[in-house]
């Protein structure tokens, strides 16, 4: 009788995260496309207002990342739905996995993807800044992002992750009742 292999849950989760992060990469490319589409659609959407007094006239446009954040959060929600579909669950069975390890690995992958998604999101903002500087040749006052990037970053990551987990946990709790009918 050959000896059986003993593998801890931690090792398997680590390997699964590595595997899934590569497997699900298409989710990120869809985000890039989504951001580009919204970037083009919203390219002139700085809210503009102007004041004038005497000879002096001030006009300012406010550009913000909020719309992109909403798009990312929406994307995250959809991706979380995708990750828990049957096709993805069956993919997990091709390697060593249990339901627990898959669920934990999914959570980690979603956290990683949330971080990457926010990086993608912020880089769209830099593109926007570049566009304003070079194309429109405007000068501007930079507020949030450059003053406290870290806080903004974490708030964004948190909100994107929240959107993902909103669906994921709802599904996970539903699954507990449906376990016997799965697959």
């Amino acid at each position: 009788m050959q000896s059986l292999t003993n593998i801890s849950l931690k090792t398997i989760v680590k390997k699964q995260v590595k595997w899934k992060a590569k497997l699900y990469i298409s989710a990120l490319s869809s985000l890039v496309i989504l951001q580009i589409i919204f970037g083009i659609l919203l390219s002139s959407s700085g809210s503009t207002s102007g004041y004038g007094r005497g000879n002096l006239s001030v006009q300012f446009s406010i550009y913000s990342l909020d719309m992109f954040l909403i798009v990312s959060a929406f994307w995250a929600f959809i991706v979380a739905i995708l990750f828990t579909t049957k096709a993805y669950r069956i993919d997990d069975l091709s390697v060593i996995s249990s339901r627990t390890s898959s669920a934990i690995a999914n959570i980690f992958v979603m956290i990683i993807y949330s971080f990457i998604a926010v990086v993608i999101m912020i880089s769209t903002f830099y593109l926007k800044v570049l566009e304003i500087l070079l194309v429109e040749k405007q000068s501007f006052i930079i507020e949030n992002l450059f003053i406290s990037p870290s806080i903004y970053y974490y708030v964004s990551v948190a909100s994107v992750y929240l959107a993902q987990s909103a669906y994921y946990w709802a599904l996970a709790s539903r699954d507990r009742h449906l376990l016997k009918y799965q697959l």
Binding site: M1, Q2, L4, T5, N6, I7, S8, L9, I12, K15, K18, W19, K22, L23, Y24, I25, S26, A87, I90, D91, L93, S94, V95, I96, S97, S98, R99, T100, S101, L179, K180, Y181, Q182, L183
Partner: protein, 297 residues
């Protein structure tokens, strides 16, 4: 040592019973064929053993543990069927690399050699492969992972004849190189017979036979001879099938209920002939009075 122990196992999907009170024990390091008609419950029992679904009642122990949602049994078990799927973003080579990462006993070198033999392009994507190529790749994946329990659910589906013969040999060679428990289901029992040690016959959700191959084949026997000489004999035993052509009867009967010597039979002009394993399966699982011709009459 028993590697799989099922006790009073039942599984129902809604109102339909897929398995009913199955009790079986499977020894380690054997190649076991799981045979049954379509919808007999073969895949259900394999899915329970693999820990993918939970039995409705009863218990199933694999390596002395409950396989459902269990990482220890998952690490020692691989389940190969046609649902095995990988992302479109991974080439075959990537999949092999990940396999090596996951499975501790992985044989990379062997995998490359086998895929090369089967003429599979390593840069191809899993989804791009043809049905037969897919089955070949999946089988190679299952064999090189060298898990203590290897479950092959119709591994040869879609393969052409030549590659099927080759891969039965491959299974046997791999088994000899690294003895493990292999469960195979297939509809081609004839081809598979040479590598099997035991047969587990499932019909309508319950196990109706579990025996070493030779013993299994001897369960039924075919008798043929003059009708009047056979009539007495047949009334005493269980008859599985019977045809009468021009005063000559040939019948398939249960060996264990036949208490006559061969000499006596010969003196009555009755000849005995042995059946192949697949014929035995056919008769054991055939429905009472089932006849396809009757549908068209």
């Amino acid at each position: 040592m028993n590697i799989i122990q099922c006790e009073d196992l039942s599984k129902s999907f809604g109102r339909r019973n897929a398995l009913q009170h199955v009790t079986c024990a499977i020894d380690a390091e054997k190649i076991i064929g799981i045979i049954g008609r379509n919808g007999a419950g073969k895949s259900t029992i394999l899915n329970i053993i693999a820990g993918y679904i939970k039995p409705t009642s009863g218990s199933c122990k694999v390596f002395n543990e409950n396989p459902f949602n269990n990482i220890q049994t998952a690490a020692n078990m691989i389940f190969i069927d046609d649902r095995l799927s990988f992302s479109d973003y991974l080439s075959l080579e990537d999949i092999l690399k990940f396999g090596a990462d996951f499975y501790p006993n992985w044989q990379s070198e062997l995998a490359y050699r086998m895929l090369d033999y089967a003429g599979l392009d390593l840069t191809a994507k899993h989804q791009q492969l043809s049905k037969g190529q897919l089955a070949t790749f999946n089988l190679v994946y299952g064999l090189v992972s060298r898990c203590a329990l290897t479950i092959l659910d119709e591994p040869m589906n879609g393969m052409d004849e030549a590659i099927r013969t080759d891969f039965y040999r491959a299974i046997l060679k791999e088994y000899l190189a690294f003895p493990r428990t292999i469960l195979i289901t297939s509809h081609h029992l004839q081809e598979m017979e040479s590598i099997l040690e035991e047969i587990l016959l499932i019909d309508k959700g319950s196990i109706i036979a579990h025996a070493p191959l030779d013993e299994f084949k001897e369960q039924l026997i075919s008798l043929s001879g003059p009708s009047d000489a056979l009539a007495d004999l047949l009334s005493e035993t269980e008859v599985y099938a019977q045809t009468i052509v021009a005063g000559m009867t040939s019948a398939i009967v249960d060996t264990s209920k036949l208490f006559v010597s061969e000499d006596l039979l010969r003196s009555k002009g009755i000849t005995l002939s042995h059946l192949t394993a697949s014929e035995v399966c056919k008769y054991l699982t055939s429905k009472e009075g089932s006849d396809i011709d009757a549908i068209f009459d």
